[in-house]
Symmetry: C2
Subunit: 364 residues, 2 copies
């Protein structure tokens, strides 16, 4: 397939909302022992549950290293295709392709990936295999791609409504480890050009202690154009309170690209979740990879859910607020089944269900 | 995708003739320096010519190691998809999937691969990456597969007419390094079961000094059902003469699965081609890999051509018989363009254009 030198907006392409119809979903199989405890085995069980759950609704494409290929292949999974591909970790939302469409054709956007901050505050080194995954997904999908050699972005740091509006956080998009050579206005223009959008909404910060420099996909998601959910706490003593309050005030006061006021639904967070001694000890301590220390607070959030054809995959934590999250989303998504998945093992790796998945839009 | 426990014949599937319509062709990018001289660079130029020539007629899927991925990806090839995949060498005809069809659906046959003879007289060690390629091709094609854990076969050791007849050589199929635990009758039954065939024709031997134990695809090919080409020499002092004569007499006296007499077209071989000192010195000498010694005679043959939609890719050698081969095939394939490719570099690696390609049949 070929590399394009234009941009999606110029060519009439846009990134659809995640809630629009998918043709399939991607996932990368986890294994690196300096991020996933016990050689990734507990995480693999949860990833497998995610894969099987998605596969009930739409085809799944699983990217897997050479070493883990036979393990996965031997499972004989239905509605699942397996692709050998070298990778540095398993966050396809962030290193994978962003797909854009024009009604009859699909193309890929291949952002530069630097492991959430490169040599400034990236989470591991090197990240060269991850940076090639978007290109390899474009080959699999048989689509040409726009490659940005000079613009760092992860898919989890943007949410699109498919109708011209993008939501990001200032904490992430203006971070020192991404694109310090660009002004905020230049970043906005690049986002609009490559997502086929008109307006960027800048939530100040992401979830408290989120190691991605506050990815938007852990704090805000589009239910549909003009309507978002926002991670929320009523505990005014929690550092998260002020973060969520500012996001609420900002979003409630803004309009989207179509001029609509934005409806903001609060989604209560789980109580703070800390890494246990056993969990910490299961991770290989390695120079250059973010450590997983006992007692560290994790950036748990129900907003890190994934919307697929006919369902919503919702991370739950065995928390008293799980049921509230299920009920809230059931009301917001009357045409989709809510599929709760106990996802503490994904959270321990630094993200959740939305971070480990990437949709391929359906092209008519 | 899933592994099937039945067999193609039982399920109503057959391997089509190569001359039937393709949906695409596979190729593996060459690089191993103990087989391809000068780090594979001269061979890569010829493989690239093969890729570009096929891509004029049908889509090409190129399998490439992680290390060579960016090299190939940077070429921006049209009508070509690139897949990262670990491999031991670049003979997709032999290690790749054999595709079978039933009119509306396709499936893969995943033979056991042991590098042309395993620990008896295999050509390199290990071969575990190659043995997984068929399975990975089935995933790419989104088809289920029949895996034979206990039957060694390479795709180059069979030719099918798509109407019930298979041609093989005794030299290869009865070799000590393949399936010594099986009788000739058991091998016939396995071939018929997994290729959806009725009759196996056993040519005694392949091309003189062919390191594959005489693969049929270097000496005989089906032009169409009931009609084959046979590699031939008129030089009665050449050891090849007796081999070709016996094949001629055998095939001329046999009928195919449909009861037809077989028309045998002789295709004159090039004059013997020997490895030069410079060519030999360009190959890394490595324990366990077949050496490429100066003066060794190569198993050159025009029969190692590849039939695709609308064309025939013909290896030529700068030999006085090149033009005869072009003319002969032009007469035999009036509806296809003959595409001669100077293929000495592929020959130096131990095979030719047919050995480095694998067709995916079109399913209606």
């Amino acid at each position: 397939m070929q590399r394009l030198e234009s941009n999606p907006k110029k060519d009439g392409f846009r990134m659809p909302g995640e809630f629009e119809e998918h043709s399939s979903s991607y996932i990368i199989w986890p294994e690196r022992p300096d991020n996933w405890r016990l050689g990734g085995k507990p995480a693999q069980k949860v990833f497998l549950e995610v894969i099987k759950t998605i596969a009930k609704y739409e085809p799944v494409k699983v990217i897997v290293s050479k070493n883990q290929y036979s393990h996965l292949s031997g499972m004989n999974l239905k509605n699942v295709q397996i692709y050998e591909m070298s990778n540095d970790d398993s966050w396809v939302r962030d290193c994978g392709a962003t797909f854009v469409v024009n009604g009859s054709e699909m193309r890929a956007v291949d952002w530069k990936f630097n492991a959430w901050g490169g040599l400034v505050d990236g989470l591991y080194f090197p990240w060269d295999s991850d940076d090639k995954i978007a290109s390899k997904m474009a080959e699999i999908e048989k689509v040409d791609r726009y490659r940005l050699d000079d613009f760092v972005l992860e898919g989890g740091s943007i949410h699109c409504d498919g109708e011209g509006t993008v939501i990001v956080t200032e904490e992430c998009l203006l971070s020192e480890g991404r694109n310090p050579h660009l002004t905020k206005e230049e970043i906005e223009k690049t986002l609009c050009d490559y997502l086929g959008a008109e307006k960027v909404l800048w939530v100040p910060r992401g979830i408290y202690l989120d190691e991605t420099n506050g990815h938007v996909d852990n704090i805000v998601n589009f239910v549909r154009p003009g309507e978002v959910v926002l991670a929320w706490t009523d505990d005014t003593t929690d550092p998260q309170y002020e973060i969520s309050k500012k996001a609420y005030d900002y979003l409630s006061s803004e309009t989207d690209a179509k001029g609509r006021n934005i409806i903001v639904h609060k989604l209560l967070l789980p109580k703070p979740i800390l890494i246990t001694k056993e969990e910490s000890e299961g991770v290989d301590a390695v120079d250059g990879t973010l450590p997983r220390n006992e007692g560290d607070r994790l950036a748990a959030s129900y907003v890190n859910y994934y919307t697929i054809n006919g369902a919503v995959l919702l991370p739950v934590f065995g928390d008293e607020n799980d049921q509230n999250a299920i009920n809230t989303l059931a009301n917001l998504y009357p045409d989709r089944k809510i599929e709760p998945i106990y996802a503490r093992e994904i959270l321990l790796g630094g993200g959740n269900i939305h971070c480990i998945t990437q949709q391929v839009p359906k092209v008519k």
